[in-house]
């Protein structure tokens, strides 16, 4: 225990605090040293429970090290290092700092052994991610960051309510399998679901990720959804409803991806699609299926990162262009980036020899072994669809298609190094799964062999004929033309719906307010004032008029007397004699009664 004094998440989090004070080369070296140090720390970790402390009678665990947390920590540290290299040209200190905050809190989530620690890091994740959107400093990113916070704070509050109820019910804060059996567990389940981008809850992802910085999105594609996958793996393994939630995630977003113009948004939709496969794997809940989810987390982080990096590099070189309508024919200018993009595309499409092939197929096989026929067919549809919208569409519209006339230089060296490392990793995992990710898989399951002749044939035929369909639809003019547009999604409810709610409340509440003002403030109150002001004068005049009549005061003098009286009463001025006289009368009344 003492051989390892510092958990990896604190190396990244506390180390990250110093980044804003460094500059230039020193900062780069320091930022690379942190994940390197964290990785050595990871290598020295042995399974067990470390770094505990107590808080209000609960045991806080900052280091639950087992095979599940180890595979996540491994890939999180690696992608942090890759993102540092990719972002090293960025001068903005806040962006680097936010990245480390985000990465460190994600590792904190993974290593948390109790729900309190888990929740604290879970919320820090949201803060880190929101900063990565904010630092782009455009009006749209500002709006997106606020919406991101809105959704995640709401999700976080629901999760918190669930955690408090759960701790109250069970008397323990330990984060073990929860199972859907109480209100508390449903709240926790839903809270995880928000970060996991379940259908309808997903729109924060496709809304905000394309608004983040070029490099920030590499972090974003990695941490929030994968930490949620980890949470579901721990809390709800084998929960059957997850199978159908996952199928919804894997299938529905690809329709959006086909008609979306912003290519980073296309990738955001395909991110949801890939996470859907992982959710299905957790829902099936066998050792094989959960291993499939874990393996797919690992390979997805790398190939999705690679795709986001290559589109980001194009954005960086073309001055922020990321829409299919604005790009095309860039392969000659940016061949290296183009090749990396194609490797990422081949990996996400699960071509044989690329990483998706050895990870996604585990989930497919597990679904087939569990006799989930419809699920299997839906996932096969999603597999063909992902090749279509991410595998072909992204490289085709950026690097080939029509010539956009844009002539730019190849991406800077640091970006090329980061993309190159990731591309090599995607291929290495694809060719040597037994030497790379399979030994890391956490659950007990029979060994899986992806490279059977039948599997290679099946997957190749599926992809070849998807490509054939794309080609025929494109040359036949049926493929939907790229149009500058937005497609409304469930974020509509809080973007437009919010505006309508505003108008609704404006109309109803403000008119209620106006009525209330008219009746109470302008009506009753001023009437009361008037009565208080003029009432006594009116009574006195009424009393005095008969006296004046009787004493025979002429009418013009009577009018004058009345005006005088009115004025005196309203101003509260009376001759001292009268005041004294009235005081005596009052004293007399008090004396006798």
């Amino acid at each position: 225990m003492m051989s390892n004094p510092l958990p990896p998440q604190f190396i990244i989090l506390l180390g990250g605090l110093l980044i804003p004070f460094l500059k230039g080369k020193a900062r780069l070296v320091y930022m690379l040293a942190l994940p390197a140090f964290a990785f050595f720390n990871y290598l020295s970790l042995e399974e067990g429970i470390y770094w505990t402390s107590s808080f209000m009678n609960f045991e806080l665990v900052f280091g639950r090290v087992d095979k599940i947390s180890l595979i996540f920590i491994n890939v999180f540290i690696i992608v942090t290092a890759i993102a540092v290299i990719y972002n090293s040209h960025v001068k903005e200190r806040l962006e680097h700092f936010s990245g480390f905050l985000y990465a460190g809190s994600a590792m904190g989530v993974i290593l948390a052994g109790d729900l309190i620690t888990f929740f604290v890091f879970w919320e820090l994740l949201t803060v880190g991610a929101a900063f990565l959107i904010l630092v782009r400093k455009s009006a749209t990113s500002m709006g997106a960051a606020l919406r991101y916070l809105l959704v995640h704070v709401l999700g976080g509050l629901i999760l918190l309510a669930g955690i408090i109820l759960h701790i109250n019910e069970t008397g323990s804060a330990a984060f073990t399998a929860i199972g859907l059996d109480s209100v508390a567990s449903y709240l926790i389940f839903f809270g995880f679901g928000v970060n996991c981008a379940w259908p309808i809850l997903h729109s924060w992802l496709s809304d905000s990720y394309p608004e983040s910085t070029v490099g920030g999105i590499v972090f974003m594609a990695t941490f929030t959804t994968k930490a949620a996958i980890y949470a579901l793996m721990r809390g709800f393994p084998g929960e059957p409803s997850l199978i159908w939630i996952g199928v919804g995630m894997a299938t529905f977003p690809i329709f959006y991806a086909v008609i979306e113009n912003d290519l980073r948004r296309v990738l955001a939709y395909s991110l949801i699609n890939q996470v859907g496969f992982m959710v299905v794997g957790i829902g099936i809940g066998t050792g094989l299926s959960m291993n499939g989810s874990a393996a797919h987390v690992y390979s997805d982080i790398l190939f999705k990162g690679l795709l986001f990096m290559s589109v980001g590099a194009v954005m960086h070189q073309t001055g922020g262009k990321a829409k299919a309508t604005e790009l095309g024919g860039l392969f000659r200018c940016m061949p290296f980036t183009g090749v990396c993009c194609i490797i990422g595309a081949a990996s996400i499409s699960a071509f044989p020899l690329f990483s998706g092939f050895v990870s996604k197929s585990i989930i497919m096989t597990a679904a087939a072994e569990g006799h989930h026929a419809i699920v299997w067919l839906a996932l096969l549809f999603a597999s063909a669809g992902v090749f279509h919208h991410a595998g072909i569409k992204i490289p085709f519209f950026v690097f080939f298609s029509h010539d956009s006339g844009i002539r730019v230089k190849e991406a800077p060296m640091n970006m090329r190094i980061a993309m190159g490392i990731t591309a090599v990793a995607c291929i290495a995992i694809g060719i040597f799964p037994n030497q790379t990710i399979y030994p890391l898989l956490p659950f007990d399951a029979p060994a899986y062999h992806p490279y059977t002749f039948a599997h290679i044939m099946a997957q190749s035929l599926l992809l070849l004929f998807s490509a054939l369909a794309f080609t025929l639809l494109l040359t036949g003019g049926i493929y939907p033309a790229e149009i500058r547009s937005v497609n409304i999604d469930s974020d509509w409810f809080y973007r437009k719906g919010g505006k309508w709610a505003y108008i609704l409340f404006d109309r109803t509440l403000n008119s209620l307010n106006a009525v209330a003002h008219k009746l109470l403030i302008a009506g009753t109150v001023s009437k009361l004032c008037q009565i208080a002001k003029e009432g006594p004068a009116y009574i006195l005049t009424a009393l005095l008029t008969p006296i004046w009549e009787l004493s025979g005061t002429p009418p013009d003098q009577r009018e004058k007397l009345r005006e005088n009286l009115n004025e005196n009463i309203q101003n509260g001025v009376f001759p001292i004699g009268i005041t004294a006289c009235l005081s005596v009368v009052l004293l007399g009344i008090l004396f006798f009664f």
Binding site: A454, L462, A469, L473
Partner: protein, 84 residues
């Protein structure tokens, strides 16, 4: 979009190569894998020759048609829809 005659030679070659590869793939599927070869199939339909080819093709055509003719008319708005 633009018809294929305007495309450069290399593009037409790639398309031709794709057609040929698809043909060879289906041929292999029919010749070697239909009856005699163990496909480790977990579902009956995996043994049908050409199943994956047909499924991949139909899936993609359906995906594109539904996206274009059903989803797009429902959800597409001007680019400044949310800015108004």
């Amino acid at each position: 979009m633009s018809d294929s005659s305007h495309r450069p030679k290399s593009a037409r070659r790639i398309v031709a190569a794709l057609f040929i590869t698809c043909g060879i793939g289906v041929l292999l599927d029919f010749l070697f894998l239909s009856e005699s070869f163990d496909k480790h199939a977990l579902f009956e339909w995996e043994n049908w020759p050409g199943f994956y080819a047909v499924y991949g093709f139909v899936a993609c055509v359906l995906l594109v048609l539904v996206s274009k003719y059903v989803l797009r008319p429902l959800v597409m708005r001007d680019e400044d829809y949310y800015d108004e």
